[in-house]
């Protein structure tokens, strides 16, 4: 997708960003935007006015542009850590559908990790039913895509759901959400579910399970009648409660999204798209990936390999 962006613009953004850094400007969106990959379509449009003249100049040297466009991610990754940029990570997933056997271990692992009640699912496995029963079925494990342009956050009347600046994870403030469910209608992928207040029997019967809180958002809420997150919309958080203080995950230490950690076929790859050497970045470079409903311009951060 990013290759489609007119390279003069990315070139000129890189130039401007490095200029700003060199003159020691305060951290701004532009400062953090040295990496053209980090620019969402909207941000680009917002800043087109600023860079118009630069783009014109850059477009004259068309030959250089392609090279620099590709070089940009590597060049900027150092800048991302050294300067005080807003966006430190761009977390996402690459899901290899040919490795998925449809065992739904991810669904169960997610439930165990986040203690979600019945009817609330942060990830599901949908099966594309084929016309011919002999065809190999297509399974699609479907967490929240943490879109670059999430349509769900704009419609929230109280800004209770938003995309985090530091890592692009779309979150919900349970204490602010009024439960209007407008965001559910706005999500084109069915990634959001409403917590109606149902509980599994072990919790309804007030066994020891009922007192085990959910680690979500590190808020450790136990399930209580009519208390948040009951009456709220809920969604996948990429298990952000497992991040360290700097916002990093650690696969070796087990601090990794539960679905990716548990996947029996190793179909779910998780990582930082901003790091050119991450597993997910490598996969994107080497394989042909698709995203769902590209036509809506949401730019999901979850890719599928077919």
């Amino acid at each position: 997708m990013w290759d489609l962006w007119p390279c003069p613009i990315s070139l000129c953004l890189v130039t401007m960003a490095s200029m700003q850094r060199s003159i020691g400007a305060s951290p701004t969106a532009i400062d953090g935007g040295g990496d053209s990959r980090r620019w969402s379509r909207r941000e680009l449009i917002d800043h087109l006015g600023l860079v118009g003249a630069g783009a014109l100049a850059a477009s004259m040297g068309g030959g250089l542009v392609g090279v620099l466009g590709h070089a940009a991610p590597a060049a900027a990754s150092t800048g991302a850590t050294s300067s005080g940029v807003n966006r430190k990570f761009r977390y996402g997933m690459v899901i290899d559908t040919r490795r998925c056997v449809g065992c739904k271990a991810c669904v169960v692992a997610c439930k165990a990790e986040n203690k979600t009640p019945p009817g609330v699912n942060y990830t599901v496995v949908v099966e594309d039913t084929r016309d011919n029963p002999d065809d190999k079925p297509l399974f699609l494990t479907k967490p929240c895509f943490h879109c670059e342009n999430p349509p769900c956050t704009d419609v929230c009347p109280v800004s209770a759901t938003f995309k985090r600046e530091q890592d692009g994870i779309v979150v919900i403030d349970y204490d602010r959400c009024i439960g209007c469910r407008y965001c559910i209608t706005a999500c084109p992928y069915g990634a959001r579910t409403f917590d109606f207040g149902e509980s599994y029997p072990a919790i309804e019967e007030e066994t020891a399970w009922a007192r085990v809180p959910s680690p979500e958002y590190r808020q450790y809420r136990a399930r209580q009648h009519e208390t948040s997150p009951i009456g709220n919309v809920r969604k996948c958080t990429f298990c952000l409660h497992l991040q360290d203080e700097e916002g990093r995950y650690n696969k070796a230490a087990g601090r990794w999204p539960a679905c990716a950690k548990t996947c029996t076929g190793h179909a779910i790859f998780f990582g930082d798209f901003q790091d050119p050497n991450s597993e997910v970045s490598l996969l994107l470079r080497e394989r042909q990936a698709i995203r769902l409903k590209e036509e809506l311009g949401t730019e999901p951060n979850v890719y599928y390999l077919l």
Binding site: G119, V124, D128, V155, A160, I178, G179, C180, Y182, F196
Partner: protein, 414 residues
């Protein structure tokens, strides 16, 4: 039928409905959303549909009252106050319905405290606030002199009037002329406000690109036309039942009937346009919504409720030479439209939601909350019926308590 019987029926229905509603509200307040039948695939149900229905009635009634107070249309003068009062009552009903729909009713103030003006919903709530104030103030100026006069005597009614008059004592014709100027200014401000908030309700659905059946530029316009048609129908009904009833308001009822016919036909034109474009376009998501409306499990909501009851029969009654001048038939048409448009509102909200965003979503997890099937639960119906009942009682009380239109000076122009 005698007028008195009509009013008794009105009160009887209101009381029964409210009693049913008490149970619905009890279930809602004690169990939250547990007893509702919608889920996460169809996240909005009967309450949202009734909300857009009531708010449509409010916007429609108000815009028709503006014919009198902004444009000075003499023919509808007799219903000016009723229209304004109807707008106020139905606005309250709409807010009640959407309040019950919230997951956290106690947090409704968040919309005022932390508004996100990128969201059409935030705009709507703020405009409702402005509109509510405007309606209340406009109505007060409209009946101020009657309140002053009525507050002179003794007894409970005079005491209520004295409180409502807010200390105003002036009853000269000059002061009434001043009141009228204020009303005219407020009504003039109200017209764009009403168009904005109700067009905004249409936009609330229209902007959702994820639901192709909503994502149409016609939606705001369609909402306004439906509002005008259903609001007009409500006014026909109220005029026929209240104040002096259909016998004395004969000319007004018949004239309103003509207006409603025009608005209804315009509304049908826009709906046909929406259906045709979507149908011929053949975009799967869009067509899925239409198929559900026309041939889905609730096909009768469209063919029976919305089309036959709410559109075809009323058009026939309002157009046929034998019935269009008879206030009884015109009132019947008003009743049919007012009831039939509930079907229209249900068909706006639910079918567009009832198809999976990603194929296989409804089968992925065995949960009634992840289903493309929806039929409102008993308590959902009860709560809604209760809101309707409250509306009937408020209309009744309004007629009993508030000064009547006939005391208005004839000339509304300053």
């Amino acid at each position: 039928m005698h007028d008195r019987h009509l009013k008794q029926m009105f009160w009887g229905a209101g009381i029964v409905f409210v009693l049913v509603g008490v149970w619905g509200w009890y279930v809602r307040l004690t169990q939250g959303h547990l007893d509702t039948d919608y889920g996460s695939l169809i996240p909005w149900g009967l309450w949202v549909a009734s909300y857009i229905y009531f708010i449509g009635l409010s916007a429609g009634s108000f815009l028709i009252s503006a014919l009198v107070y902004v444009f000075g249309v003499k023919r509808f003068e007799a219903i000016g106050r009723t229209a304004l009062f109807a707008a106020l009552v139905t606005l309250m009903l709409a807010l009640l319905a959407i309040w019950a729909d919230l997951g956290h009713m106690g947090r409704s103030w968040h919309v005022l405290a932390y508004p996100n003006f990128k969201s059409p919903m935030a705009w709507m709530i703020w405009l409702y606030g402005a509109y509510f104030l405007l309606l209340a103030v406009e109505l007060w100026f409209l009946i101020r002199r009657d309140l002053v006069n009525g507050g002179r005597g003794s007894g409970w009614k005079a005491r209520v009037y004295r409180v409502l008059a807010l200390g105003s004592q002036e009853d000269s014709d000059v002061s009434v002329a001043h009141d009228r100027r204020v009303v005219r200014v407020l009504a003039t401000i109200g017209v764009p406000v009403a168009i904005m908030f109700h067009g905004g309700v249409g936009a609330l659905f229209g902007v959702v690109a994820a639901r192709p059946a909503w994502n149409s530029g016609l939606f705001p316009i369609l909402f306004l036309l439906s509002a005008l048609a259903s609001g007009g129908a409500l006014l026909v009904l109220v005029t026929a039942v209240f104040q002096d009833g259909w016998r004395r308001n004969r000319d007004t009822v018949v004239a309103l009937g003509r207006l409603v016919l025009g608005l209804l036909l315009l509304d049908v034109l826009f709906q046909v346009s929406e259906y045709l474009i979507a149908g011929y376009g053949n975009v799967p998501g869009h067509v899925a919504g239409l198929k559900l409306i026309f041939t889905g499990p609730y096909w009768w909501v469209f063919w029976g409720w919305q089309l036959a009851l709410g559109t075809a029969i009323p058009i026939a009654l309002l157009a046929a030479r034998r019935t269009r001048n008879d206030p009884r038939f015109v009132s019947l048409a008003g009743l049919l439209i007012a009831v039939g448009f509930i079907g229209l509102r249900l068909n706006i909200v639910i079918p567009a939601l009832a198809s999976e965003e990603v194929t296989g979503l409804a089968e992925a997890v065995a949960s009634p909350r992840l289903s493309t099937e929806y039929f409102p639960s008993l308590s959902e119906w009860a709560l809604t019926v209760g809101i309707v009942g409250l509306g009937l009682l408020l209309f009744g009380l309004g007629e009993k308590l508030l000064p009547q239109q006939k005391e208005d000076p004839v000339d509304v122009r300053p």
